[in-house]
Amino acid sequence: MIELRDVSVTLGGNRVVGGLSATVEHGEWVALLGPNGAGKTTLLRAIAGLVRYAGSIVVEGTSIADGTRREISQRLALVPQQPQIPQELTVAEYVLLGRTPHIGYLATESRDDRLAAERAIGRLGLDSFVGRPLGSLSGGELQRAVLARALAQEAPVLLLDEPTSALDLGRQQQALELVDELRRDEPLTVVSAMHDLSLAGQYADRLLLLDAGEVVADGPATEVLSEERISQLYGAQVSIVRENGSVFVLPRRRA
């Protein structure tokens, strides 16, 4: 569970997140939406304790400001938008790095850590890739390796920054299905910044629409995704298609 109270972040003199409050329930998947520069990534980084913020961020009952880096990373796993990929590290070695919050500062991983990494690798169907260098993987395989590393962290909260931005249509769906499966099985609380409104609406339980660092709409896709709101916020021309309880946002060229 994540509780944000009056959270503000100022970067380089600009207020990127301004007095934002929101709650993410245990086991819930909340998608952060909004145009470029709305503060999605910065909010994720604030929750992960990677930027200075004002206000209060409480994750699993403890304030982020009170924890050491190690304690925070035991509660939160973050998948950045563009992870650094050391080309020659093997999948096994990369996923094992996800165990860092559980390994003593100067120690090396124990059998428990190897077992946890092995579970994460199995969970993401990467068993036959353990010895492969990251540089030899395709985009979709790489994305699964990154998710496996985050899963190996065994943190109850998973933060995803644009998890599908580098993937094709099919891989996007597969990746999001996978996240959905994982969060139901583990169970995990998921907060993801997303660009694709239709996909976000189908996978997340709740959408948090941000503009200029503030929440402008909060609720299920059917409520949040309206033609007027999206057109205005994104400066885009869209049609909203509703079908079997799902909402699809279709970009249209101005006539």
């Binding site: 990677l50 973050l78 860092t100 190897r114």
Partner: protein, 355 residues
């Protein structure tokens, strides 16, 4: 790669492993080091057989009761002249190589060497001041060089911190360049004012082990040992840092503190090495990169292997330095670059990696 059948047989927790330090490479590196040490002890104007030296070394060990096959003169040559020289070359070579690997990991930049933060310029200035104003030689020289190196690094770090904030290792590198430029300028000025010292200053800066004594070994060894142990303990953390500051932080590493510890450890060891041997270039770049190309890009292999092979490399380079033009000596920096550069070119060309 393991097949599915093999994987099913493997016990849980056995399929997912970091390669770490391959045993074969570790053993090979130690054998190369031992071989180069024996060679270093036996090569010289007075020829002494490798076995005679081995028996003499064994005779020094307690409980073994081996009879030394060296006579008293030969024994003195080997243990009072050659041994400190070989030991010092091993310690300095190992230190420069392990510090180079640590700097490259901490700054995520393959081109940085242990002199990055002004260690070399500071040591050079310290030595020059000591020679020019205190007419120092022998005992005081290493102390002055060590002090100069420490001042340079503290200045570079303070400047980098105050200008760069938390992130941006680039600022720290620029601070090192700034401090180096300033200290080199001061050194050149002092040198010009005291032209008579040029020869002595120049010979310190060229570096070498020609005058090595057990005293030098004892001065440098404690710093080098502590520094090496600290760096070896950080080998896994260096792999985490290879994911970048932000991801390393999200995995629970306090990046700023960790980088400070690594840089301080590497710098103290380097300063100690420089103060007893002068400036020896190229070792801190060539040895870690050879390991990277030949063995693994994981710091779990690079850090310990750089220590052992860096020691062996400089012992061998020193053998060449004192034999190629015997009885004259080549500056060791000339040897490390003259033989090291072609060797590295061959490694670079013959290893085919990804991409």
């Amino acid at each position: 790669m393991t097949s599915t059948a093999e994987r099913l047989k493997a016990a849980p927790g056995e399929t997912v492993r970091a390669r770490g330090l391959p045993t074969g490479w570790g053993a090979a590196a130690l054998i190369v080091l031992a071989g180069s040490l024996l060679l270093g002890l036996s090569v010289g104007p007075v020829s002494t057989g490798v076995w005679a030296i081995a028996s003499s070394a064994a005779a020094h060990l307690p409980f073994l009761h081996v009879h030394s096959r060296l006579d008293a003169t030969d024994s003195a040559i080997v243990w009072q002249l050659r041994a400190p020289r070989v030991m010092l070359a091993m310690l300095v070579g190992g230190m420069l190589a392990i510090a180079g690997s640590a700097y490259q990991g901490a700054f995520r930049n393959p081109l940085v060497d242990p002199y990055l933060l002004g260690t070399a310029a500071g040591a050079g200035l310290g030595a020059t001041l000591a020679i020019a104003y205190a007419h120092a030689s022998g005992g005081l020289l290493p102390v002055a060089a060590f002090a100069g190196a420490s001042v340079a690094v503290i200045a570079a770090y303070a400047l980098g911190r105050s200008a760069g904030g938390i992130r941006g290792t680039g600022t720290l590198v620029l601070a090192g360049v700034t401090v180096t430029a300033f200290m080199t300028a001061v050194q050149t000025f002092v040198q010009q004012q005291h032209a008579s010292t040029l020869q002595q200053v120049y010979s310190f800066i060229l570096g070498g082990f020609g005058s090595a004594t057990w005293h030098d070994v004892l001065i440098a060894a404690p710093y080098i040992l502590v520094s090496s142990v600290v760096l070896i303990l950080h080998r896994r953390v260096l792999d985490v840092l290879s994911l970048g500051d932000e991801e390393a932080a999200s995995l629970g590493i306090d990046v700023r503190r960790t980088r400070l510890i690594i840089v301080v450890a590497a710098t103290i060891g380097t300063a100690a090495a420089v103060s007893v041997s002068g400036l020896i270039g190229f070792v801190g770049i060539i040895v870690p990169h050879s390991v990277r190309l030949l063995v693994s890009t994981s710091y779990r292999a690079i850090v310990p292997l750089a220590l052992v092979l860096g020691g062996a490399f400089l012992v061998l380079a020193d053998i060449l330095a004192r034999t190629v033009m015997s009885p004259a000596e080549l500056p060791i920096g000339v040897v490390t670059a003259f033989f090291g550069a072609p060797f590295f070119a061959v490694v670079l060309r013959t290893t085919r990696r990804l991409g």
